[in-house]
């Protein structure tokens, strides 16, 4: 008796849910944000949460999507691949979001973006800078310029500051995905600019003692040091380089692009050159309003991760606005709207705090402006990034 009824009940339930899924209309306009709110990646993810929440409040206060407010749904990815997959799966099937901004790490994106691709849900990576992200599929794009585009600017700027530079040392954190791909770009740029790559040194993001690497750099008598690492290790490395007597210029990669490194190297941070995909000094009206409101609310200038998360939400919202003007969003089926949203994201041009951005056919961001800043320390704890022309 039970044996015959159970499969029938199950298949009936399956048919019912499938039937419901097909007829599902858009009732609330929700956009998913899947970034790291826990684990050690949360250091970056928290800034993204702030950026996205700020975008929700700010853009809704200015009319949302042609008068209808939109809602952000947050799911924590943690710092690992399984967490990212779970967060994406929840957003797609349970929260039925129209698009997803996330995840934080490129390694997580390689795990979770294929899930969205198969479900035909558009994804915008807010901080995935590794090679190969937009190529995951048609529904995957990013607002974060790849390291290959950002990094070379710093080397060119250093050459402007000191045209006599000849010998270069490159150091990188070999257990960090971002730093290893960034150092590749730096090393190619060094060769392309006709400089000598005197020594390449590796370290771990968990290291605190860099005597070996610093000694090698000093022995090579270089005029420029390029570091790809994260805030704590990179800061310590800068500190020890200066303490042991290195006098030349230092370039830091994107991982050092945060005021979190100031307490680590303190006054010795002074003068480090950093290439950025975002600068609070960027002059567009969009950015200046963003910086003003953000500073008023959080008492500090917006960091790059917050600005990129904001830009991700903004792109989704503006694309939805464009669709809504043609055909009211509430009349769409969720599945069709997701596909249309993806098309619209790739078509548009967006005036974001990052400057004017658009996307190529694969979903790679086309960004007009990049920035190079130099750290200026006021005292042991406070400093700022000074934008170099």
């Amino acid at each position: 008796m039970i044996r015959t009824t159970l499969p029938r009940l199950l298949s009936a339930a399956l048919l019912l849910t499938l039937g419901l899924a097909q007829a599902q209309k858009v009732d609330t306009i929700s956009i998913g944000v899947a970034v790291a709110q826990t684990s050690n990646t949360a250091l970056l993810g928290q800034e993204q949460v702030i950026g996205a929440k700020f975008a929700e409040k700010y853009l809704n206060a200015r009319g949302g999507i042609n008068g209808t407010p939109f809602k952000l749904v947050f799911q924590d990815t943690g710092g690992d691949e399984a967490g990212a997959i779970n967060a994406f799966q929840n957003l797609i099937t349970k929260d039925r979001v129209l698009g997803i901004v996330g995840p934080t790490l490129s390694q997580q994106a390689f795990a979770s973006d294929p899930i969205a691709e198969r479900a035909k849900v558009p994804v915008l990576g807010p901080s995935n800078t590794a090679k190969g992200i937009p190529q995951i599929g048609n529904f995957v794009a990013r607002v974060s310029a790849p390291v290959a585009v950002v990094a070379p600017n710093a080397v060119k700027q250093a050459l402007k500051l000191d045209p006599k530079i000849k010998d270069v040392a490159v150091l990188y954190a070999q257990n960090d995905a971002f730093s290893t791909s960034e150092t590749g770009t730096f090393q190619e740029t060094v060769k392309a600019q006709g400089l000598t790559l005197s020594t390449v040194q590796k370290f771990q993001t968990t290291d605190t003692d860099f005597t070996t690497q610093v000694t090698a750099v000093l022995n090579a008598k270089v005029d420029l040091v390029i570091i790809s690492g994260l805030a704590a290790d990179g800061g310590n490395l800068v500190k020890q380089l200066r303490q042991l007597g290195y006098k030349g210029l230092i370039i830091g990669g994107n991982g050092l692009n945060t005021s979190n490194m100031f307490p680590v190297c303190q006054k010795l941070c002074d003068g480090v050159i950093i290439a950025q995909a975002y600068s609070p000094n960027q002059g567009s009206a969009a950015n200046q309003v963003f910086v003003k409101e953000y500073t008023a609310q959080y008492k500090k200038a917006p960091p790059q991760f917050a600005a990129q998360a904001y830009a991700g939400v903004q792109v989704m919202v503006e694309a939805l606005k464009a669709i809504d003007r043609k055909k009211k969003l509430t009349t769409w089926d969720v599945d069709d709207l997701r596909i249309e949203l993806n098309k619209q994201i790739l078509l548009g041009k967006y005036n974001t705090p990052l400057g004017l951005i658009s996307f190529d056919k694969e979903g790679e961001v086309i960004q007009k402006e990049f920035y190079v800043a130099q750290i200026r320390m006021k005292d042991a704890k406070n400093g700022s990034f000074v934008y170099l022309k």
């Binding site: 849910t17 349970k94 390689f110 257990n175 995905a177 791909s181």
Partner: protein, 308 residues
């Protein structure tokens, strides 16, 4: 139902996978060896599968075998895991207790650093764009891989425990010297248990690379060693169901508690603390004690009877 599977299918498969990894640690524990090497073999298996499935130099092999490449990756993962298990196990198992645990942690670290430095493993970024096993479209379909594997492993473990080898392993766990004196060669049996665990971990790794879509050096770290050990200890290390229950529970708790947002990891920590404080034999051990019949009581002394 479909939505349920779409949302939680990945989690269910992860629970089965965690149970399998717990079992891979359970084999050496059967012989009384506290080894934390499982994540190393798991990472190795995953890399073997990821390389076979994506590296251009195996393109010819993939074309000839078609879908048959997937079982081949499982076999390769298990065999390489087992072989490396012998290589590591023979010298490492001369160590005991905490020293063995340290040596196996070192082994996991060495593998991780090697993976970071090789180009074939993709360095720190790892390997991505891994094709799906048999063209699976959804994560829940991986239950069809991990489920039967778990069932087979449990069956195998039960048979092993009932066999002569199982009794020898148990004897080693209880008292190595006494077992040796009774004619059980310790090294041979310890290495055997270690290698079975290594092969299983390699196999699970090979199945997991397509499941996660990507594979990198973070898959086999000291952290994952501790997670798996915690799963085994919380589930119970003396019963085959212990690692399965513990692995499934630890994989599920943070996900099921997703609605609690930031608090979910606090609850996860509480589960760990409470379980280790109040359930020394693990959850399964505690349950077994509840269901076990009370030990026979000595009958009361007959009341003194007056002689007529």
């Amino acid at each position: 139902m479909n939505d349920f599977l779409q949302t939680y299918g990945f989690l269910i498969a992860t629970m089965l996978q965690a149970g399998l990894l717990g079992l891979s640690l359970y084999f050496p524990l059967q012989a009384g060896q506290l080894s934390l090497a499982s994540p190393g073999f798991y990472a190795l298996g995953g890399y073997v599968a990821a390389i076979l499935l994506t590296n251009p130099s195996f393109a010819g092999l993939r074309d000839t075998l078609g879908q048959g490449i997937f079982p081949l990756t499982w076999l390769a993962g298990a065999v390489l895991g087992g072989l490396l298990g012998v290589v590591v196990g023979v010298p490492a198992l001369r160590l005991r207790g905490i020293y063995l645990a340290l040596a196996t942690i070192a082994f996991v670290e060495i593998l991780r650093v090697v993976a970071l430095n090789l180009t074939v493993t993709g360095g720190a970024v790892g390997i991505f764009g891994i094709p799906q096993t048999f063209g699976f479209q959804d994560r829940w379909q991986y239950i069809f891989l991990f489920g039967p594997l778990l069932a087979l492993t449990l069956l195998f473990t039960r048979q092993l425990e009932r066999s002569r080898v199982g009794r020898a392993l148990r004897a080693l766990r209880e008292d190595e010297l006494a077992a040796d004196a009774m004619g059980v060669p310790p090294t041979q049996y310890k290495v055997l248990a270690f290698v079975i665990g290594a092969a299983l971990a390699g196999l699970v790794g090979a199945m997991s690379a397509p499941f996660l879509n990507t594979w990198n050096a973070k898959q086999g770290t000291f952290d994952s060693s501790i997670t798996i050990l915690a799963a085994v200890l919380i589930g119970g290390s003396r019963n085959i169901w212990g690692p399965v229950v513990g692995g499934a529970l630890l994989a599920a708790v943070p996900e099921v508690l997703r609605f609690l947002a930031d608090w979910r990891l606090v609850i996860n920590g509480l589960v760990l603390v409470v379980a280790s404080l109040y359930l020394p034999q693990g959850i399964v051990g505690a349950l077994a004690r509840l269901t076990r019949p009370r030990p026979p009581q000595r009958p009361l002394a007959p009341a003194y009877e007056k002689q007529p």
